[in-house]
Point group: C2
Chain length 324, copies 2
């Protein structure tokens, strides 16, 4: 029997001009999943930290579906039992379903000794996220798995690009006391967008990528504008413009919704600025929304999902036996 535990970080995605294609992990917040080999099938043994709200049926659980995809891909006759510890609030816009799916496939792959590539694991995790989020764009799953500031040129087959992160660049994330279902936020977007808005978006994304390479914070700030999703989702977060203004006045390069919200991220040129921006955003959120907010100040972490402990035992004699 082999038991392996993996951590997968929270991720900021839909990075303003990088809607559906840009994301990065936070340093410490995330989900922890333990995978244990069982005779066959996928099951969820336990979920902590979800207040009983996530499906225990593996076929409807993001981590369960992801691991089933891995078993199918490997042609693996054995099964996996999962224990999921949610370190992220549900429907927060911080890639919680991606983190569960990624931690589960990383742990399960290690438990099985399969040594799958990141390209293989990402496709399995995407299968899982599709269950959780209603669609899968890989801008949470890819940075969660690979680490770093990631551009998803194409989710399948995966064409994942790690962009340079200028020294000092620091993220602030504030999670107000709201919940937004990803599927509801996506429905606000509609199926088409004005061409003029789309052109503005890709002009900004090109400028943002160029600014990253040259460490040009002023250009990055000008480019950190979402012409597509944020205007259509602004109603989901009361006082969004006031919160953005507070971030800007405190020195943020830009501030927008993380994922489909309600979490907001800001990018800052240094940790010192980020700490001031965090205070300003928390104050604005308290005024505009109230309730208890969580906040994080983090570099754009270079580290993706990884094993945090593993107990590997020789399988007992009588291999087909249920290891329960």
């Amino acid at each position: 029997m082999t038991v392996v535990t993996a951590f997968a970080p929270a991720t900021v995605s839909n990075l303003a001009c990088g809607f559906d294609v840009l994301g990065f992990p936070l340093e410490s917040a995330g989900d922890v999943v333990t995978a244990r080999i069982v005779a066959s099938g996928v099951r969820i043994d336990d979920i902590e930290g979800d207040e009983g709200r996530l499906p225990r049926d593996a076929r409807r659980n993001t981590a369960g579906v992801a691991v089933q995809a891995l078993l199918d891909r490997l042609g693996e006759p054995r099964g996996i039992a999962l224990c999921i510890c949610k370190g992220l609030p549900l429907s927060s816009g911080l890639g919680g379903s991606a983190a569960s799916a990624v931690a589960a496939v990383v742990a399960a792959d290690a438990a099985l000794g399969a040594g799958s590539t990141l390209e293989q694991l990402i496709l399995c995790a995407l299968d899982g996220e599709r269950i959780g989020a209603g669609s899968a764009h890989a801008d949470n799953v890819a940075p969660c798995l690979y680490g770093g500031l990631v551009l998803v040129r194409r989710p399948n087959p995966p064409d994942i690009i790690r962009l340079p992160v200028p020294p000092g660049l620091t993220a602030v994330v504030v999670h107000p006391a709201l919940e937004i279902e990803t599927s509801r936020a996506r429905a606000l977007l509609g199926e088409t967008v004005p061409l003029a808005d789309a052109v503005r978006q890709w002009a900004n994304l090109g400028a943002f990528v160029d600014g990253l390479h040259r460490g040009d914070f002023a250009q990055m700030a000008r480019a950190l504008e979402d012409a597509i999703a944020e205007p259509r989702r602004a109603s989901l977060v009361p006082g969004l413009s006031a919160i953005k203004r507070a971030a800007a006045e405190a020195g943020a390069l830009g501030c927008s919704l993380s994922g489909s919200g309600p979490s907001l991220f800001a990018l800052c040129a240094s940790r010192a600025v980020a700490l001031a921006v965090e205070r300003a955003m928390l104050a604005a959120v308290a005024t505009q929304i109230g309730g208890a907010s969580r906040s994080y100040v983090s570099p754009l972490s270079a580290r993706g999902a990884h094993l945090i402990e593993s107990a590997s035992h020789a399988r007992e004699a009588g291999a087909g036996r249920l290891p329960e």
Copy 2:
């Protein structure tokens, strides 16, 4: 009286994933405009190379409108007479109206000794191009004026970014014996686009800009895909897919319409590859379209519009006199 002549290069714009925002000049093809100070107003004294088809009325001529915008901006009481020598075929997709507008404002500004900045000149040229092309996106005017591979983050106020050009990168342009009106090509696009196509476009543009910075030709090749304009305009160029295939088989990184066509551009990793691609594209165009094609092989020229000769004379005494 002061007479100044300027050259402004042909430009490739709508660079596949860079629709409306990316462009670069060719090295030698372009328009030449001579500006001469007159007492007041703007007039077109002569146009060569247009077979009599461009408006001689300065208020309807792209160069005339651009120079009027310059005079207005300067609060200049004197006027300008223009002689325009078209080095580019009309409606070719190579930025002919931008070249005339840019050469005219560069020549007129020098004739007047005004010393306007590029940011000021671009806005005047854009006013002119709006007359010629029905809309103005600056992805011809900006590279024509600034030189280099240019990203237009915003046309007004101008936010123009010169992107790095990896050593060896060479353009092929083939202009088949077709004419396409920019306004007709634009009408094919419609006002809205599917969000999924737009996301694919900005993912590609981000990857292309990253590839330029890292000199990663393989990534640039994957990203040189137009999810927006080319599929909607393909019917304007018979056999487009066969021509693109010929370019790819000869080693091009990518091939698409220049501007709104009918010219096609290909980007290649070296001049040697570009020469082979030029042959392959010309052969395919001969088969698919027939007629006489022009072609160019050029680096992504770093040089924008510039003065090529100027005769500066002290103004005669009796300043208000018509210098005719």
